[in-house]
């Protein structure tokens, strides 16, 4: 069970270490059910740390998002570690970054937080609309305990669980330097019911479905920037010469954008659901990613982000791989 005292103590010890630059955890947000990533550089900052069903953000994205400015002449680069709090899903992003050599193992200190499933922000804000002051939420047995300003409410777990958590098979971090509390039992079976719905459509229906979605994209790139696996220093979408994707916002360019991202994530997406969560236009982006994850898992028995010593999907060819789709 969550032990906040222990979490704060471990955080204090961690930021005090000489080989740690800063620690990234979660803190209560400024209103309602929101949380914010919390960057700690000194032990006092630990007071604000939380771990609750609101801690939905995948902080692994900050490992690669940190800007690397040129080191001034005469100075040494700061090679200290970044300490990172991770849930099960988040930890798979760390592992996948290690597999791809996006980061090095000794550049990160992983603090594992076994997780019982986080809240779906949209569902909880719909159920309790108009809550302005920050709300504390706790895990109970098969329920969420929500401490609203006008009293405590208990809601069955299934009702408010985030989509990505409903079928979670990896609630426990798969990599950690320190594990904060006992592991929890996994509950998901990893089925792709949502993908099957889309697969059941004929191609015209599916095209109409996605056309409508892509047409409303505003290309704010929140999905790309929040994604812990989208860390190319030179993104294909930003290139100007050659320019692969026009800046114009229309169905054609928006479709190229989303499909390019989806294909680049095949065999790499660890299904943390951040792209879909951060999208201000409510695009069901995980349906694209999960379709490809399903193909990769079913056809090649491959899952990303589990073993740091393994090879990336694209370089793990086996003679018995399926190839019946090749004409």
């Amino acid at each position: 069970m969550v032990d906040l005292e222990k979490l704060k103590n471990v955080a204090k010890e961690t930021v005090s270490r000489e080989d740690v630059k800063y620690l990234v955890g979660w803190r209560q947000g400024t209103y309602g059910f929101r949380v914010s990533p919390h960057f700690m550089t000194k032990p006092e900052d630990a007071d604000k740390l939380i771990f609750s069903p609101l801690c939905v953000n995948n902080l692994a994205t900050y490992l690669t998002l940190a800007e690397k400015l040129p080191v001034p002449r005469g100075e040494e680069p700061d090679t200290r570690k970044v300490a990172l709090m991770v849930k099960g899903c988040d930890s798979r992003a760390v592992v996948q970054q290690l597999i791809e050599k996006g980061i090095e193992r000794d550049s990160v200190y992983v603090i594992g937080c076994p997780c019982q499933g986080v809240l779906d922000l949209e569902k909880v804000e719909e159920k309790f609309p108009g809550v302005q002051s920050p709300v504390d939420v706790q895990w109970g047995d098969d329920k969420f305990i929500i401490n609203l300003p006008d009293g405590t409410q208990e809601v069955p777990r299934e009702e408010l669980l985030a989509q990505k958590c409903l079928n979670c098979r990896y609630p426990n971090p798969v990599i950690s330097d320190v594990m904060l509390w006992e592991e929890v039992e996994a509950w998901g079976n990893g089925e792709y019911a949502d993908v099957k719905e889309l697969e059941a459509m004929d191609s015209q229906e599916r095209w109409t479905f996605w056309q409508e979605k892509f047409a409303s994209c505003i290309r704010c790139y929140a999905c790309r920037n929040a994604c812990p696996m989208c860390y190319c220093e030179d993104c294909v979408l930003d290139r100007l010469n050659p320019q692969w994707v026009f800046r114009s916002n229309n169905i054609s360019e928006n479709t190229v954008f989303h499909l390019a991202r989806a294909f680049h994530l095949a065999g790499r997406c660890i299904e943390c659901g951040e792209c879909e969560r951060v999208c201000p236009m409510g695009l069901p982006l995980m349906s694209l990613n999960r379709k490809l994850a399903k193909e990769v898992r079913e056809k090649y028995a491959f899952e990303p982000g589990l073993d740091p010593e393994s090879k990336p999907f694209q370089s793990s060819y086996r003679p018995d791989d399926q190839e019946d789709f090749i004409l």
Binding site: G29, F39, A215, F246
Partner: protein, 338 residues
């Protein structure tokens, strides 16, 4: 002209009248509410909090063709003159925001693309009755029934709407509506007044903005900016959905032998925004970009145009994936000792 009243049984007729011009109302497009052209009167439903995408998207579209051309040709094909438009259901904060965007696009020279559209557009405002949890318009000189930038203000009285014409365009609309409208009674005006009052009282988030422009200048090198921007993902949700953000990029796009020069929304939160051809970037990290976003709204714009370029609509707060909250930033700015 005095206020009028439109009973709800006449609302369909009123919408029909407005439809003689190109009528935009808040509608679900995909999964979100935004202003879109009406194709039948049944689509008009004025029960909503506010649109996710602000109405600036109609007058300053995300992608706008400036002209088209052919490879090797010398002729520029200009876009058609804008048609007359009506925007129905604009929230007072968003209408105020248009008056702010106006200042930019008619600064040294009039931007013909924006100004022509703006002049050909009638803004029908809709007073707020249920402000959102992150609304703070009252701190910036606005309010749930603020009239700036609005030609005709509607207040939902339950059985009908109170119509307050505020400009010639608004008065003309009322004249055209003729028999659909009745003279508003004193009690209708009072009812609207108290609804406006009630709505203003529902706004809980507030900030004292007077000292901010000066403070920001003094806080240029403050560690505040690093702390605020640590969590920033560098996406454009805050700026693209802001009703006053107006930055754009100009692109030449060729497809085969046909090309077009267009302008597209740009965001100061993108790395590319200030990237020089040389590779140098004067705003190299999210710290400088976040500082610029706040300074542009609360300092530079004040210097150039005498007004803060924020109307307190709360969209940047609602839509930030990592809870970077402009009111939180501003309250830190106010508190920060220099």
């Amino acid at each position: 002209m005095d206020s009028k009243k439109l009973t709800k049984d006449k609302f369909g007729g009123f919408v029909e009248l407005l439809s003689k011009q190109k009528l935009y109302v808040p509608q679900m497009v995909g999964e979100t509410l935004r202003f879109a052209p009406v194709s039948s009167k049944d689509e008009v439903d004025l029960v909503f909090s506010n649109t996710v995408v602000p109405p600036k998207s109609v007058l300053f579209p995300q992608t706008e063709t400036l002209y088209e051309y052919e490879a090797g040709g010398t002729e520029l094909i200009m876009p058609e003159e804008p048609e007359e438009k009506v925007l129905l259901g604009v929230r007072p904060c968003d209408a105020r925001a248009l008056t702010i965007v106006d200042k930019l696009f008619s600064w040294d020279i009039d931007d013909p693309y924006y100004v022509n559209k703006r002049e050909n557009t009638t803004i029908i405002g809709l007073a707020c009755q249920e402000p959102g949890i992150n609304c703070f318009c009252t701190s910036l000189g606005g309010g749930p029934a603020s009239t700036e930038g609005i030609d005709l203000l509607l207040t939902d009285l339950g059985e009908g709407y109170l119509l307050q014409p505020l400009t010639e365009k608004g008065e003309k609309l009322c004249q055209d509506a003729g028999e659909l409208l009745v003279e508003a009674a004193g009690e209708d005006r009072q009812a609207a007044e108290s609804l406006h009052q009630e709505a203003a009282e529902k706004i809980v988030r507030k900030i004292e903005v007077d000292t901010i422009p000066q403070k920001l200048e003094e806080l240029w090198e403050s560690p505040l900016w690093k702390n605020i921007s640590d969590a920033c993902l560098g996406c454009g949700a805050c700026t693209f959905l802001c009703p006053t953000c107006h930055c754009f990029d100009i692109q030449d796009e060729m497809e085969g032998f046909e090309g077009r020069r267009c302008r597209v929304w740009d965001s100061c939160m993108f790395e590319e925004y200030t990237l020089h051809t040389s590779g140098h970037n004067p705003r190299p990290t999210r710290r400088e970009r976040t500082r610029n976003r706040v300074n542009h709204k609360y300092s530079y714009f004040v210097k150039n145009f005498g007004t803060i370029a924020c109307v307190g609509c709360g969209r940047c707060i609602d839509n930030c994936p990592v809870n970077i909250d402009i009111l939180d930033i501003l309250s830190q700015v106010v508190k920060e000792a220099i």
